[in-house]
């Protein structure tokens, strides 16, 4: 080993604390990068392999009822590789001891569970016999949530008649990676299951012999999805087609994609923050090291080492520190990625999991880490290269203090001599002080920006469940009903108020852009539901025309006053032009609203009740639920409180489990910054601190000089961190927003408080470790040396 490298190793060992502290910050960058990219990559790979192996279709369409022969007509469309039809039938289940309604969506399938598209993955048992009336395969999540297994029997009401189902298998399918009951906001595997039943058996049970109501297809390579969708819609229109969608709009895939997009967004926001801080830390620490090694640099150059060799020596020092972070971060990122991928696999329903972090992810993360350390080193390396031997070997000029603004302010504030030492030292090194404060501020901001997601989720919950939805129960009907049903519901004992609701599937077109959307009918005198904007204010429906949520308006490129073509999907293919009367900023979904009167002019069907909202006497809840469950026209029930509870639970489980990571990472920044500042401060001031000890200052009084300066810098960091957190939160919210939901910025004051406390605790603990060095200060040795 060359002697300069030996020096490098020893320097690193001597400065191991500081190197480790910077390594920790770089490690946090590397870990979040590897984790997020790794999970993203693994999930994408898993998804793609799953889609490929089990033939996930490219286009999906639902209809009211079509003869099976329509499949051949669809298959004949140019660009369609393969088409397959099936029946999708909702059923109400009866599980012993459960009052709240449980629903299943039963899909027809070929003999033994065979199908050419959206193939069933059998985990246990066998596929259903094509004829056997009661045989079903149930999805794994539902089986797990309800402790059901092969051989169990489930009572069900299918198409109004009661039957007894036997579980013959447990399975998964690529079109149900994520599923949610219609009308629900939160998926609940315990109350909604996906079932598969033999085709003939389901035809008989649902009164659809020789008919289908759902169709899916795959595209030939290079075929245009949009064109095929147009052709498919033209064919299925007469059968009540509700508009074909590609994978992008297929619910299961759309949800998974939005999650993957969020992971990718994370790699673009969080690692750069850590890298930026580590760049500054390397800048400060290497700068200080080079100042203290001035004479050695002079000596090296005097002995004949080139400028380049000296510069490279210090650059290697920065790279070595980065390497510590890369190793730690890679291990942590790999481990975290694995556990997170496992969590995702549990939440989404994959039959297998490909956990794989490509070497390119490690290489990319390493390169970024090395680059940020290298950039941080440039300033110091440049000064080392520029030093001439003669200058280097003479001692540096002492720090010069002048009576400036800070000094006059200090006098006016009546500071003690020690107070002046603190304030003036900060003013003497403004760059470094700024880096310390802004580093701590970054850690605070990052932590806050993450915590506020919980507040945002809660605010969204509050906005939706308390302001927009005030009903106790929503009842969805198998088919739209006329108003008579409202009187039937109102007659149930304990029902206080009943309001109708419905959503009509349409395609909206503006210029070349078309979107499939449901127009929700409402009345301004409704008491149980309201349209609430992101600030929590109720927004009235326009007297005529449509109200669109902002993301929908943006997609269609319309603003208030524009006209859109509205094509009714399913049933009559009416087309009309409606005016966009207003735009609403909502938190959930891409939605459209109209007055019921405006909507019925479009549908002209006399069956305006698709669902009903109920306000009930809570004491009679069980009775009402039972009575509703017995009504054959009822497809499903949603209880607001249960949904809200479930949502809370998801927030707790998913977000809180990440909280530990983020607290650790954000603290890593604070620890890295404070530790290095404290060590530099200590080494710069060792002489002064020893002098104070000699003059009769006690250890704790001397430690105040050190801790006071850090405390002041951290105190400055707190308001800065709150501002940084505010901006970072806005940035992260905008990156994490999707069509499905947009989190509001609604931080609880306690989130600022919590973030501040965590960072202060990390800073204080770190500072105390360095302050302990004051006790080991060797007064005699320090004073013997010339400052």
């Amino acid at each position: 080993m060359r002697s300069l490298d030996i020096k490098l190793m020893r320097d690193l060992w001597r400065m191991r604390g500081q190197a480790l502290a910077i390594g920790l910050v770089i490690g946090a960058a590397m870990a979040t990068f590897v984790m997020a990219m790794g999970v993203h990559h693994s999930l994408t790979q898993t998804r793609d392999a799953y889609y490929d192996r089990y033939r996930y279709a490219d286009i999906f369409v639902n209809m009211t009822r079509a003869p099976r022969s329509v499949v051949e007509r669809i298959a004949a469309i140019g660009g369609v590789a393969r088409a397959e039809g099936r029946i999708e039938q909702f059923a109400t289940l009866e599980l012993p001891g459960r009052i709240s309604p449980i629903r299943a969506k039963i899909n027809s399938i070929g003999d033994g569970g065979a199908s050419s598209l959206n193939r069933l993955v059998l985990i246990r048992g066998r596929g259903p016999d094509i004829q056997a009336a009661g045989e079903v395969v149930i999805d794994k999540a539902f089986a797990d949530a309800n402790s059901l297994t092969v051989g169990d029997r489930i009572g069900a009401i299918i198409y109004g008649s009661r039957s007894n189902l036997e579980v013959v298998g447990i399975g998964l399918a690529p079109d149900y990676i994520w599923s949610i009951a219609p009308g629900e906001l939160v998926p609940d595997a315990s109350r909604y299951g996906i079932f598969w039943m033999g085709e003939k058996a389901l035809e008989a049970a649902s009164n659809r012999t020789g008919a289908i109501n759902a169709l899916s297809l795959t595209l030939e390579h290079g075929a245009s999805e949009a064109e095929v969708i147009r052709s498919v819609d033209a064919v299925v229109g007469q059968f009540g087609g509700t508009g074909a969608v590609g994978r992008e709009d297929h619910l299961s895939n759309a949800f998974l994609t939005s999650e993957l997009d969020q992971l990718e967004a994370m790699t673009r926001v969080i690692p750069p923050i850590f890298l930026l801080v580590s760049t500054f830390l390397v800048y400060v620490v290497l700068g200080r090291t080079i100042r203290t090694e001035r004479e050695e640099i002079g000596l090296m150059k005097a002995f004949g080492y080139t400028n380049w060799a000296v510069g490279w020596h210090y650059l290697k020092f920065a790279f070595a520190i980065a390497l510590i972070g890369i190793v730690m971060g890679s291990l942590a990122g790999w481990w975290m990625g694995r556990s997170m991928t496992g969590q995702y696999a549990e939440y989404y329903r994959f039959p297998f999991l490909i956990f794989q972090i490509s070497p390119a992810v490690f290489a990319g993360g390493s390169l970024l880490s090395l680059a940020s350390a290298g950039i941080g080193a440039l300033g110091g390396v440049r000064s080392a290269v520029r030093l001439t031997p003669a200058t280097a070997m003479s001692p540096p000029p002492p720090p010069v203090y002048h009576a400036g603004l800070v000094e006059r302010l200090g006098d006016r504030a009546g500071l003690t001599a020690v107070g002046n030492m603190i304030v003036r030292h900060i003013a003497r090194w403004p760059g470094r002080s700024a880096i310390t404060s802004s580093g701590v501020a970054m850690s605070l901001g990052l932590l806050f920006a993450v915590i506020q997601f919980i507040d945002g989720s809660r605010a969204m919950l509050d906005n939706y469940f308390f302001r927009a939805q005030r009903q106790d129960i929503s009842v969805t009907f198998i088919e739209p009903r006329n108003e008579k049903v409202l009187y039937d519901l109102a007659a149930l004992p304990g029902v206080i108020r009943v309001e109708p609701a419905r959503a009509v599937a349409v395609r909206m077109r503006h210029g070349a852009v078309a979107e499939r959307v449901a127009i929700e009918a409402a009345n301004n005198d409704d008491l149980l539901t309201a349209r609430v904007d992101s600030d929590g204010f109720e927004v009235d429906l326009p007297a005529a025309g449509l109200m669109l949520s902002r993301p929908l308006a943006a997609k269609l490129r319309v603003s208030a006053g524009d006209n859109v073509e509205v094509e009714l999907l399913g049933g009559r293919q009416t087309q009309t032009v409606m005016t966009v009367a207003s735009i609403i900023d909502e938190l959930i979904g891409t939605r459209a609203y109209a007055q019921e009167s405006a909507l019925s002019r479009l549908t002209r069907d006399g069956a305006p009740v698709g669902s009903a909202n109920l306000l009930i006497d809570p004491l009679q809840r069980d009775e009402i639920i039972t009575r509703l469950g017995e009504m054959p026209i009822v497809l499903g029930l949603t209880e607001r409180d249960a949904a809200m509870e479930l949502f809370e639970q998801i927030i707790e489980e998913n977000i809180m489990s990440m909280m530990g990571f983020y607290i650790a990472f954000a603290s890593a920044i604070a620890v890295g910054v404070v530790y290095n500042s404290a060590r530099i401060l200590f080494s710069e001031r060792a002489h002064e601190l020893a002098t104070l000890r000699v003059l009769g200052y006690q250890r704790r009084e001397v430690a105040i000089v050190l801790l006071g300066e850090l405390a002041l810098l951290v105190a400055i960091a707190v308001p800065l961190g709150c501002i940084a957190g505010y901006w970072l939160a806005q940035l992260m919210i905008s990156m994490f927003s999707s069509d499905l939901f947009r989190l509001p910025f609604a931080p609880d004051r306690s989130s600022y408080g919590f973030a501040i406390l965590v960072i202060l605790a990390a800073a204080a603990a770190t500072a105390m470790i360095v302050a302990r060095r004051v006790t080991r200060l060797d007064m005699v040795r320090v004073l013997k040396a010339r400052d």
Partner: protein, 246 residues
């Protein structure tokens, strides 16, 4: 046991050190350095004592032990009836704070504080200190009190250090090569100031020097060799600091 409260100002003027068999051994790596090899001494209150001797002869070690900066490996040291060698770290600090003024070869001023603030550093924590301005006046620097160390000459900086040392009215002034970094005119000026403190405040003055000429102002001179006091000279004809040259 003796505590800091015992070192009250009334005791200060009768200050005297008694040392018995003081030994100090430094262990660095595998080598042992015997800096003091059993020193017995008596230092009288109010005297000017000069410690002379070659480098490594043990005079700085003794000065540090007397000043409470360091502890002997063995032996006893008493100050005015209290055993310093039995004090803990915090009590030693209190002892320094109450009784000892230090002056070093390289001044050890705090660069971020003005002359007056450097003095205030000591008066802030003393019981009955001088006014910092008054202390600076005693060393003739009243006009430069708002200057920072970097704006002062070496001699001026050392006089600030002297002002800082005497501002608390210490019983003992310990000076390690106080003129080592100064030219002779400036050095004499600093010595004059120290002698004044000794005369007017009754402060015991203990000086380390390589400069045998300075011994002329002492009441007694301890000659150090190999960690021991080789001889003690008593000066019958003290010379005033102002009359010295070197």
């Amino acid at each position: 046991m003796a505590v800091h409260g015992d070192f009250s100002e009334s005791d200060v003027r009768r200050a005297a050190f008694t040392g018995k068999s003081l030994r100090k051994t430094y262990v660095t790596g595998e080598t042992e350095v015997h800096a003091l090899r059993g020193v017995d001494l008596e230092i009288n209150a109010g005297e000017i004592l000069v410690l002379l001797g070659p480098s490594g002869s043990g005079k700085s070690t003794l000065l540090n032990i007397i000043g409470g900066l360091d502890r002997p490996t063995s032996g006893e040291l008493w100050y005015d009836g209290k055993e310093l060698t039995a004090l803990d770290e915090a009590d030693l600090t209190r002892f320094r704070r109450a009784n000892i003024g230090f002056i070093f070869q390289f001044y050890n001023l705090i660069p971020s504080l003005t002359a007056e603030e450097n003095v205030r550093l000591v008066t802030d924590i003393s019981d009955r200190p001088m006014n910092p301005a008054e202390a600076l006046e005693l060393v003739g620097l009243q006009d430069r009190r708002h200057h920072f160390p970097a704006q002062l000459s070496g001699g001026e900086q050392q006089r600030v250090a002297v002002a800082r040392a005497i501002a608390k009215r210490p019983g003992v002034l310990l000076c390690d090569e106080p003129t080592g970094a100064l030219d002779s005119t400036t050095g004499v000026r600093v010595l004059e100031t120290l002698a004044n403190a000794n005369r007017e405040l009754g402060t015991t003055l203990i000086l380390i020097t390589h400069n045998a000429g300075i011994a002329a102002m002492a009441d007694r001179v301890f000659n150090f060799l190999d960690g021991q006091i080789a001889s003690i000279e008593v000066n019958q004809n003290r010379v005033a600091a102002s009359e010295m040259t070197w």
